[in-house]
């Protein structure tokens, strides 16, 4: 199990978490190489399909991270995203997809440290859960 390196697909908002991730990188904060970052203009643009597809393709976890309430550049995209994530968790839980495999956070542009900590924590959590079995199984 120790050589299992989780793949985390991260949908991050251009205006905040993306910058935070950049900061985490340039400040040489430890940042696991497990994250595949997808830059979005707002978490409100994360279509539930993207999350479902990532998990069905075998991603071990999905992170959706955007601006704190009040900071969203499109006023409330982040608050709408929160409801969508809640809905997705409820649906996927029904099929025994552990809810730790979907995470949503609010990380401001200056919070590079927080970004590094959240990703590191997620990697640990997902390692404990084990790999997404769909990575090897045929998915219909």
């Amino acid at each position: 199990m120790n050589d299992f390196e989780p793949v985390i697909i991260a949908f991050v908002c251009n205006w905040c978490t993306y910058t935070a991730a950049d900061l985490a990188g340039t400040s040489r904060l430890m940042q696991p190489s497990n994250v595949r970052m997808i830059r979005m203009m707002c978490t409100g643009m994360v279509d539930p399909k993207y999350v479902i597809k990532a998990l069905l393709e075998g991603a071990d976890a999905v992170l959706i991270s955007g601006c704190h309430p009040g900071d969203c550049h499109y006023i409330n995209g982040n608050l709408k995203a929160r409801r969508r994530v809640k809905l997705l968790k409820a649906i996927l839980k029904r099929f025994a997809v552990d809810e730790h495999r979907i995470k949503m956070t609010w990380i401001g542009a200056s919070e590079g440290i927080d970004f590094a900590a959240i990703v590191t924590g997620m990697v640990k959590e997902v390692k404990a859960l084990g790999p997404n079995m769909l990575r090897r199984t045929m998915v219909i």
Binding site: P48, K49, I52, K53, L56, P69, G70, N76, L79, K80, R82, R83, R84, V85, K86, L87, L88, K89, A90, I91, L92, K93, R94, F95, A96, V97, M104, T105, W106, D114, A117, I118, T120, G121, M122, M133, L134, R136, T137, M138, V139, I140
Partner: protein, 381 residues
Amino acid sequence: MSMTAESTIRENNAITSAQLLFRDMLLEGGITALLVAQHLPMKNTVMPTLITDPDELRAVDPFAPCYSMNTAKVVSKLTRKSLESPIAVVLRPCEIRAFVELVKLKQGCMDNLLVVGTECLGAYGNRDYPIFAGSEPMAATLRFYEKAQGGTTATVNGLEMAPACKACEHPVPENADLVIGVIGADMNGPASVTAKTEKGKALLEKIGREQSAQSSGREAALAKLMEERIAYRDKMFAETVEATSDLEKLMSYLGNCINCYNCRVACPVCYCRECVFTTDVFDHDPAQYLRWAKKKGVLKMPTDTVFYHITRMAHMSLACVGCGQCSNACPNGIHVMELFRTVADETQREFGYEAGRSISEDPPLSTFKENEFPEVTARTH
């Protein structure tokens, strides 16, 4: 229009008394058109028809245990723009509930619309109905009620009602202006009519009708029906959850799905006017299939089956009214309704929402609050 025509109708049964009510609505109630189910002359089935001529009511049968489609879809077509003159629509409880969802999604409008709800004891699937109805479908309807009053799993000619109906907790219409009663009623006498809103009351006054008394056996019959249906539902839920309790099992449940998307065409609350799964987003380049196949060495085709179903759940499970049209439409006998109802049960509970309950409750994804659901974004690190 003669008196004799009226009196021959009046002396008959629940079906003809309903026809008479509709006739009065068109003649004296200020209703310009009536959307109601009727036996089609060219085929042994029952379909919604839009009637403006009071002499065209002979084949109308709002009680036929046939549920070809969810009529909410048709009402949505009629009310996409607000109606210029009053129209009445005769609907089953689950059709009204689906329409309520569509109105909230701005795909229908209640203005100038009079909703007549029929109490519902259930219906047969589309394949079984013609077998059940035989060559005298009106008589078959009346025969159905004699049996169905006895309970939910009543079989006639060895045919069972659709599972959606056997599991339905809403035999009594909600959000209707008028309700036509059949529960506990003797269908060989006139059907009872009650007004539930001011609109409904005004219409009954206009056509000079008293509200009829409900049958004495109604309460007991309703209680028994609900008890049986809830027991059936709970068992169905438990079995379905067990059969689909992880993704592997879900794949086996959906294994013979051919991506025909009939289930979403038949679904009254699948609200996207164009489904993304039928657009060129999913019209992949041939080379793409080969790349996917190479990843695992094997690719099931057509692709994206589970992806489609889970996406549909994300779109409409909050609006699912459990009408069963998805199962009715599936060419491969997949128990789609059972699956979607168990998911809808979870998602609607999460948001404290019930599809079809009320016009004034916002659909969960069309609204939000600044402070809510802190568990979703809680930082655990």
